[in-house]
């Protein structure tokens, strides 16, 4: 099959074949990142606008670098420098970006569904770079790409996602992709952050760290946001760490070949000890590198996505 989508809004709607195609394309792009000419002309002449109305460091840098590796021109706009501070609506901001002849827009916004909304009013591809607590599809793609690099097929693999799941768009996108790949997903953490109703996503919910980690092949940690403590989701950061922080002793419960993942930024000594974050089982920096390749694949495929079939020119 060939790629037809113009937008990447959520991983929920992607088929296994589409996820495979993104990963295969990313694998090709990853090889480009290691050679002396780290650039291809695939998107030469295109302009991509990164509209980041929520703070971001690595996602924005990775999208920017991915676009440049594809020879596209990029402009980054954040909340402080955009006219949204003057009261301009998202719709008006986005329509102005399109009127400035941008070819593609990458959007991060605190409102769930905002990329979907933009995809309906704009004539250019829209890429979701994180919408509220809904989804962060490219993070889910790069995380599963990293898992497949290390483990091969994800079918039947035991994956644990540990931490603040309730408010995590990263967890949601990962769950969607992992389910499509046939992995066995367990969510674990305090009941306030990992409520039972998340089982409706087709995963196992647990509050027992030891049994959840036992023989798991992947443990993905999520950042504990300090504001959650203020909201009364758990008594103190220290108590969270003593109950759910990953240390050497707890890492020993994992499968011997297990990998440790974290989408960043890391709170060292809170959700993970430094010696594990920097240790041989950690693939945290691989995730960052893979983030460029996966985003190159998404930008490339969506730039070429179209529903109609045209005869190849040979």
């Amino acid at each position: 099959m060939s790629w037809n989508r113009r937008h990447l809004l959520t991983l929920e709607e992607l088929s296994l074949a589409e996820l495979d195609q993104i990963h295969a394309t990313a694998a090709s792009f990853k090889k480009i990142l290691t050679r002396s000419v780290k650039k291809v002309p695939a998107l030469r002449g295109k302009t991509i606008v990164n509209l980041f109305l929520e703070p971001s460091t690595r996602t924005r840098m990775a999208f920017d670098m991915a676009a440049k590796r594809l020879s596209a021109d990029t402009i980054s706009l954040d909340a402080k420098s955009s006219s949204t501070t003057k009261g301009e609506s998202l719709r008006d901001t986005a329509q102005n970006i399109e009127a400035l002849q941008a070819d593609m827009i990458v959007v991060r916004h605190s409102a769930p569904g905002s990329p979907l909304y933009l995809s309906k009013i704009l004539g250019i591809p829209v890429i979701n770079a994180g919408d509220g607590a809904h989804e962060h599809p490219t993070q889910g793609l790069l995380d599963t790409f990293t898992m497949r690099e290390r483990l091969g097929s994800l079918k039947g693999r035991r994956v644990v996602i540990l931490g603040d799941i309730l408010y995590s768009r990263v967890a949601r996108s990962n769950i969607q992709a992992l389910k499509t790949f046939g992995a066995d997903v367990t969510l674990v953490g305090p009941s306030t952050l990992v409520p039972k109703h998340l089982e409706a996503l087709g995963v196992t919910v647990s509050h027992d760290l030891r049994s959840a980690l036992a023989d798991a092949e992947v443990v993905m940690l999520l950042r504990i946001q300090h504001e959650r403590q203020n909201a009364g989701m758990f008594p103190s950061i220290g108590e969270y760490t003593s109950m759910f922080g990953l240390n050497q002793q707890r890492a020993a419960w994992l499968h011997p070949n297990a990998i440790i993942m974290h989408p960043g930024p890391i709170n060292r000594g809170v959700e993970i000890d430094s010696e594990l974050a920097d240790g041989p089982r950690s693939v945290i920096l691989d995730q960052v590198t893979n983030g460029i390749a996966v985003r190159m694949a998404v930008l490339y495929l969506c730039a070429g996505g179209q529903p109609e079939y045209v005869t190849p020119t040979g």
Binding site: A17, S28, I32, A42, T313, G314
Partner: protein
């Protein structure tokens, strides 16, 4: 419309042998060249020629150098470029199953030069169907056909069972 035309395995094997012999006649029986098959159709052909000539082979994926993104569907099957040797200063023979407009070849040459600076680049084609839109000519040609613009040349080289190799000219889907 002319009747569909088919080549069977012996005809294709004779054409591949002609390519190998032509490369040998230019470069000698142990040719100091490397082969680079264009993904996906040229990969199996390059490997067969490489085994026959005793020279190393690579695969070239020109997709990211194509100039028609957004005009043609992006195929689902992606074979990355794999060049397991340094091409700088060497003679590289690019290998493909069919030569038509030359656009794929132009993209493949661009991809090749991202990996190094060959001393020379030559071209070996199993079937030249004419209809060039770029100023390219193959150095080595196995077969020549002249289909109409509304026809497509299909080549299938079976890596596991070469007796199933086949090539045909069929009408394009409208």
């Amino acid at each position: 419309m002319p009747a569909p035309l088919t080549f069977d395995a012996p005809e294709l094997h004779a054409a591949i042998e002609r390519l190998a012999t032509a490369i040998e006649s230019r470069h000698g029986v142990k040719p100091p060249v490397v082969l680079a098959g264009i993904a996906n159709g040229g990969i199996e052909l390059a490997q067969r020629l490489g085994r026959r000539l005793g020279v190393p082979t690579a695969q070239l994926n020109p997709a990211f150098h194509r100039d028609d993104i957004g005009r043609n569907p992006i195929p689902g099957d992606t074979q990355p470029s794999i060049i397991p040797f340094d091409i700088t200063g060497r003679t590289v023979v690019i290998v493909d199953d069919v030569l038509h407009s030359g656009r794929t070849l132009k993209a493949a040459i661009d991809e090749l030069f991202d990996w190094g600076r060959p001393a020379a680049v030559e071209l070996a084609i199993l079937i030249d169907r004419g209809g060039r839109k770029m100023p390219f000519a193959a150095d080595y040609v196995g077969l020549t056909v002249t289909p109409t613009d509304r026809q497509k040349v299909n080549v299938f080289l079976d890596a596991t069972d070469p007796s199933r190799d086949t090539a045909s000219i069929t009408a394009l889907k409208s």
